[in-house]
Symmetry: C2
Subunit: 376 residues, 2 copies
Amino acid sequence: MPVQLNMSHPILSPPKKQHQHGDYSQSEVTLANRNNGTLLETLQYDVTPIGAHYLLNHFDVPYVDGTSDWQISISGEVNRSLTTTLDELVKQATQQDLTRTRRVTLECAGNGRANLKPRWPSQPWQVEAVGTSDWLGMPLKNLLQQASLSDRAQEVVFYGADKGIDGGNIHHFARSLSIKDAMHEDVMLVWQMNGQLLLPQHGYPLRLIVPGWYGMASVKWLNKIEVIDHAFTGHQQTGTYVYRTNSDDNGTPVTTIRVKSLLIPPGIPDWSSRKRLVQPGLVALTGRAWSGSGVPIVKVEWCCDDQWHTASLETSDNKYAWSKWAADWQATVGKHTLSCRATDAEGKTQPLTPPWDIAGFGNNAVQQVEVWCEEF
Amino acid sequence: MPVQLNMSHPILSPPKKQHQHGDYSQSEVTLANRNNGTLLETLQYDVTPIGAHYLLNHFDVPYVDGTSDWQISISGEVNRSLTTTLDELVKQATQQDLTRTRRVTLECAGNGRANLKPRWPSQPWQVEAVGTSDWLGMPLKNLLQQASLSDRAQEVVFYGADKGIDGGNIHHFARSLSIKDAMHEDVMLVWQMNGQLLLPQHGYPLRLIVPGWYGMASVKWLNKIEVIDHAFTGHQQTGTYVYRTNSDDNGTPVTTIRVKSLLIPPGIPDWSSRKRLVQPGLVALTGRAWSGSGVPIVKVEWCCDDQWHTASLETSDNKYAWSKWAADWQATVGKHTLSCRATDAEGKTQPLTPPWDIAGFGNNAVQQVEVWCEEF
């Protein structure tokens, strides 16, 4: 059972203020040191190198010594509750030819939070919480079918082994999906990433991958699935990951990833300011664009100093993975601001300024990269 | 040739102030998002899981597409300048039975910087910039012997492919070692980490590992070695990584890792404050202790609320790797502060308060972990 701490409990942060401007607090920096962003220069790779993929873990990474003891249970509104070991699950999936690999771009729902003014005090992502991996596992629906959902089944809740406190609430990380979403053929139980066992910090030995959704849906260290006859109200479902304009707003749930793109900052960086220096002349710009929901990206534009141009775009063979774009820029001496903007087949595109959300969720505003051009 | 930018150049950060208190700047947070710390709970593992090892990269990670073209040259004060491909180097090392694996604990020289008051504005590490890997490669000295050092040889300079700006100075990352240090049998040219090729962000395809030294000596993306007849004065050798009490101090170079230890914060964390909650009763404490210079750790003490006790200590078979320690704590209701302290065979130990250094290098003060104990 969840336990609610008194909000004045000494281990809790002071109540969150909506209005944070300017400098960052110690707890924002502690989170930033723990939760690594993807290095933007690794957007060169179709698949983000192991370990360079962004990481957002709410609680501690559980220590797991081997997979043979790892159990996954499914219970609640099912006709056949079952508990199986991961070894057995993998064996069955292999025998029944259910294993498959999907290339999926994941993004943290809070990516871009630090670019909102005022800023919600949490993990202070700028633009770097996105990455792409090859995930190997089996469709979740096969396990759900084996358990046989009862007529009353309404949602499927996924529990991780990771436990901690958020909003004063002591709980294992848990998220739900509707029956329709959970039965989607692309939702997977996953045990490998980029051809090797999951890394401890990415959910070893078993996790969910919900392609098209922001990362919070892809529960790590998965050991319990519960089918329920009502809407799940756990903290990670209703206490956070909700779009709200103000603190009185009940809001709407954060679900699929919004259309977005990034460019790899060209030239060389200053160590401290991270601003960029480029040589005058031809500069090859490149980056990635993605739509979370599997709708293809049909256009990427790039911008230098308010002049927009069309970039070339490689179509991706993988519905849920980012696409590569490229453009040639004739750099001239002086200061420039570079941007890019993706549009999907439904006409959805990126705003120039961050969409307002009190906690900074779903910020898909165009990135701004400041570059100084001179001979060096 | 290095190029010096005017210090008022628009891409550079404002001149560093010595006295930073309280909140953190945007550029400190940008660095924290890029440079990930080791998750303290992964100190459970003898070898830090791939990707969870701390990362401190000054400039961009170079994009390298395959190793077959990667060349390493050795020139300057040698009798036989030579350039070889990495493939050839690995082949020769294998044929001549020179390959070996060393388990080495690396720590960033700036680890603990954010715990100094005032604080130097740079990567704001608290305690998390340490990790242990199994590095596979060959002794550097074999390559130096093949090139045959001239009588005038005084230092060996190692250049990485990564390029950027620091202190206004445009340069490839480069560090030197004295001939004596460079010829030490444990200094290695490395191409594998934990049984797989180096990750891009850890120096793929070739790097140096200098066991016992802070991480800055272990140059990544190594492609050029130059033997010189004088002391190297590159920015990363003399403009930073120097112990200084104030900005007028010429200082002394940062070299080997100081004796240090960490404990894994027990119990469960609050997401936001990262403070800890534990149940009353027996709590198993554990952590790691290391001495950089290969001197064995002979004692670890742990402390609860100013009461020091001796912990049990596993001796490590690996001279340069951390040792595991453990202790049983009878936790009682209330607030507690936990610490640990290592001592090596030469009697070197950790101070209770950070040793003063203007840029926060070499902080080996004991860690303080705040824990709240109650039934939950």
